[in-house]
Symmetry: C2
Amino acid sequence: MAKSDTVERRSAYHHGDLRGALILATRQLIEEKGIDHFSVSDACRLAGVSTAAPYKHFKSKEGMVEAAVVDAMERHHAGLVEDIAKTEKGSMERIVAMGLNYIGFAVSEPAMFKLRFGHNEPEDSATSVAGQEVYLAVQEEVRAALREPVINDRVLERSFMLWSFVHGLSYLSMNPNHLDKSGSQPLEPLLHNVARRVLAD
Amino acid sequence: MAKSDTVERRSAYHHGDLRGALILATRQLIEEKGIDHFSVSDACRLAGVSTAAPYKHFKSKEGMVEAAVVDAMERHHAGLVEDIAKTEKGSMERIVAMGLNYIGFAVSEPAMFKLRFGHNEPEDSATSVAGQEVYLAVQEEVRAALREPVINDRVLERSFMLWSFVHGLSYLSMNPNHLDKSGSQPLEPLLHNVARRVLAD
DNA sequence: CTTTAAAAGTTAGCGCCTCTCACATATGTA
DNA sequence: TACATATGTGAGAGGCGCTAACTTTTAAAG
């Protein structure tokens, strides 16, 4: 309890929640101008604090960006859980809903999405752990769709295939001018098509 | 002829080929320390020139990195053409060989590979054009494997599916500790499995 | 061979950025 | 109220991206 307690209390000192405000500013600036043109100074101006303030919350610029990405992953996971709750467990519709949710996140926060996969994080890093939650959810739903009792190698294989397709489709969807490379189908039928192939036999 | 002539002559002045040397230094440093810790100054030190020299060849740091990525894409395409020449046109082996080549490049130059997809280049940018050459080669081979006379929507759809999967597999292969998420199969049988599904019916 | 314009390199330096250090202030607890 | 700790600020060191002005090398023309 010691650690999470500390983190929560941190949210109520001077600024109210400077850590959260900086994470938000970081995301907005990166989505707007690109990671190459992002600076801690800009984020400080946006949050209305001095340029030294962030270093009480993050150990470096890199750590600040990573925190923004972790935050995005966590929101993505929460949204995913919410979205699929509207569909029936083990149904094709749920698999398609997951794909649409994944692509929807990529389109709405493309910079965060790309940063998630642009760095080679060590396995136990916060980014990796947060990103894995989404993938674990995919595995569980594929397991249900395949009527398997546990997540075995068959489930892992098909989950990975599905994830690959959806991931690739996300990249194309972020660059709308490249969408015709998929054969110009609308998203939902294409996802059904792919899910059928991946889950078949 | 005016333009390419100029570019080629440029390669034989003072340094011999500073442009090429800087592209090489840029790639080496980015692969070694990551894009976040890359600086033009470091590349200059490695190439043995002043920090102002690069700006005679590239308009900015961004342009220098992009040139390194374009160079990587061109080498990738050349290697792909060479690799598939060893297999029979229209065969499953050729499709699998392309997948292995793609993944091989991702593993050998992961930073270049990620930069290729980490930026949202305008459609006509050099990066985009160079990257498209590889994808056009994929489409042509899928067309041959499907016995289609031209690259129609069916070919586009299956090419995209194949590319998505191979792309996803590349990301996992760059992080070897994540490879078990694909069901722990060795690469080649897994590629056969996927190619069969994608090309079927 | 000399002249000349352009290409390719250097030095100096401006402005911005990251990050640290010393110091100031707010907060919860004893 | 006193204290320890968590947050914040201001000043500044050191580094980087990029430009301006200048020098040197090269290719081409007379």
